[in-house]
């Protein structure tokens, strides 16, 4: 054998999957497209403009902040586009564009780049930006436009989201639950499923979100553990709270940003646990907190706050759920546990 062919010896891993950051992000963008189309269908071209501003500002912020910090340009990994789309999905269509741009800068510069860039963000960038905007511009963040209102001219018709109606009409009380469908302004269950209701851009159309989630599952970008546990825990608590009222559970699962959060936000690699055990704890915590905020909180919706809170707990969850090395003797293991070393 001729010696001109070099044999390299390197450390493991020797077998790599073809997955790249860019490829995964591209898959997420593809998965978000149905919900984007649905939002344009319900809320008009304004939805597209808002998404465009969010994505554009995110990309510009990513490019400029990396340049200012003298780090390599990472626009190519497409993560800024995903963050921009997710941020737009969390805003109402009437939201002023310059405020959305502030949110995009917060997401990319403060949450992501200040902490070291992609994979080092301490919470989900789009969600934290949403909370910053919510706490800063509460009025603009909660003025919801009715679906199809854009077809009737520029005068936007405001509406209440289904979860607002729940809070306003006291529908969380068991006695009132039979009135859910007859509450004025409450969309029917079918409309809830297809998204003909007030809400932020990306959260309204449940079927589009489920379609996107199915694509991500099919492409193995996400595993079903977090979305199913999140929605499952939430639905179980709501079933208890509603004393078995299935319509109530249905409205709660489809209303608000639960599906968007469970499928696209809580599954973010950097801010969710690595092990299945950790993922179960994380997602169950998200479900419990969301249910608690909706049932007992003063705000109508709690998905973003609960995911952010659980994001912050992820390092601790990871520490509890460190896998034990196979083959360590029992006494040694106990000893190690006592001294705080996990084996």
């Amino acid at each position: 054998m001729p010696l001109n062919k070099k044999l390299t010896v390197g450390p493991s891993p020797h077998v790599r999957s073809g997955a790249t950051t860019t490829g995964i992000m591209l898959d997420v963008i593809i998965a978000l497209v149905p919900a984007l189309i649905a939002s344009v269908y319900y809320f008009g071209p304004g939805a597209l403009a808002l998404a465009g501003v969010c994505v554009g500002t995110c990309m510009a912020a990513e490019y400029l902040s990396r340049k200012a910090m003298k780090r390599p340009n990472t626009l190519g990994d497409l993560s800024a586009i995903v963050t921009g789309l997710l941020l737009a999905f969390n805003l109402p269509v009437s939201f002023p564009l310059w405020m959305a741009a502030i949110g995009a800068v917060v997401a990319i510069v403060v949450v992501k780049q200040f902490f070291g860039g992609l994979g080092k963000n301490f919470v989900n960038p789009a969600l934290l930006a949403r909370i910053v905007l919510f706490l800063s511009f509460g009025k603009q963040m909660t003025s919801w436009t009715a679906p199809f209102a854009w077809k009737n001219g520029p005068d936007a018709v405001t509406t209440a989201t289904p979860l607002n109606l729940f809070k306003l009409n006291g529908l969380y009380l068991v006695d009132n639950m039979k009135n859910i469908e007859s509450t004025p302004g409450m969309p029917s269950m079918l409309k809830m499923f297809f998204g003909e209701r007030g809400g932020s851009l990306g959260e309204v159309c449940a079927v589009a979100l489920i379609l996107g989630g199915a694509y991500l599952l099919f492409r193995r970008v996400i595993t079903p553990v977090i979305p199913l546990t999140y929605v499952g825990t939430f639905a179980a608590v709501m079933l208890l709270a509603g004393k078995g009222d299935l319509a109530f559970v249905g409205y709660q699962v489809l209303g608000g940003g639960l599906l968007l959060g469970a499928i696209f936000m809580a599954t973010d690699y950097a801010t969710s646990p690595i092990n299945i055990k950790g993922q179960l704890i994380f997602a169950a915590g998200c479900g419990l907190l969301t249910a608690a905020i909706r049932l007992f909180g003063s705000m109508p919706e709690g998905v973003s706050f609960s995911i952010i809170l659980m994001n912050l707990l992820v390092p601790h969850i990871e520490r509890w759920t460190l896998p034990k090395a196979f083959g360590t003797p029992k006494e040694k293991r106990k000893e190690n546990e006592k001294s705080g070393v996990k084996t």
């Binding site: 910053v132 800063s136 511009f137």
Partner: protein, 233 residues
Amino acid sequence: MAEKKTMMQEFTKGFLKENPVLRLVLGTCPTLAISTSVIGAIGMGISATAVLIGSNVVISALRKVIPAKVRIPAYIIVIAAFVTIVQMLVKAFAPAVDEMLGIYLPLIVVNCIILGRAEAFAGKNPVLASTVDGIGMGIGFTAAIVLMSIIREFFGAGSLAGIAIFPASIPPVAILILPPGGFFVYGLMMAFANKLAEKKGLKKATLEGCDACPMAQACALRGEDKAESEVTA
């Protein structure tokens, strides 16, 4: 003690190198709570500086009289006396500022910066050096809290020192005057101060070794510092 410093160095170290707020992370509570308005921040800065200078002078003058074992209570009494004086003065001559600062004015008694300087510096240095140290640290604290309040009030309330800057049609980014915004601005300012100090080639700021720390007796890490300094000696 480290190498001898000139008076000028004692004076300027509080600006950046050992800035109490941005580099030593002391006095965090008043910094976060008061920096929502420029007027309040200026009032807080001046009051704390006055107390700091007064307590540094007295503690430094009494440093050979105060027994080491009860030094902390002794320091607190000195500091509390000065806080009471400052509080009475503020109440008499600037009641609006007194109202703005509220509980944080009497709480200067337990401000870490003042106790920290007493413990780390005034307790073992002559009066003149301690006075200079107090003035420098006070300026550092005031500058940091006022700068932070300018950022927070300008963007978070759309005004500066109570005078509206933005028209009412442009809503301010209200989160900046809420507690989370305070932490954001604080973190960013610390990062920039560290960057600036790094550029100037300044070392990481410390309270001059473990023995200066009020927690020295109870601290498990104390020995490590000692071992290190012995090696270098």
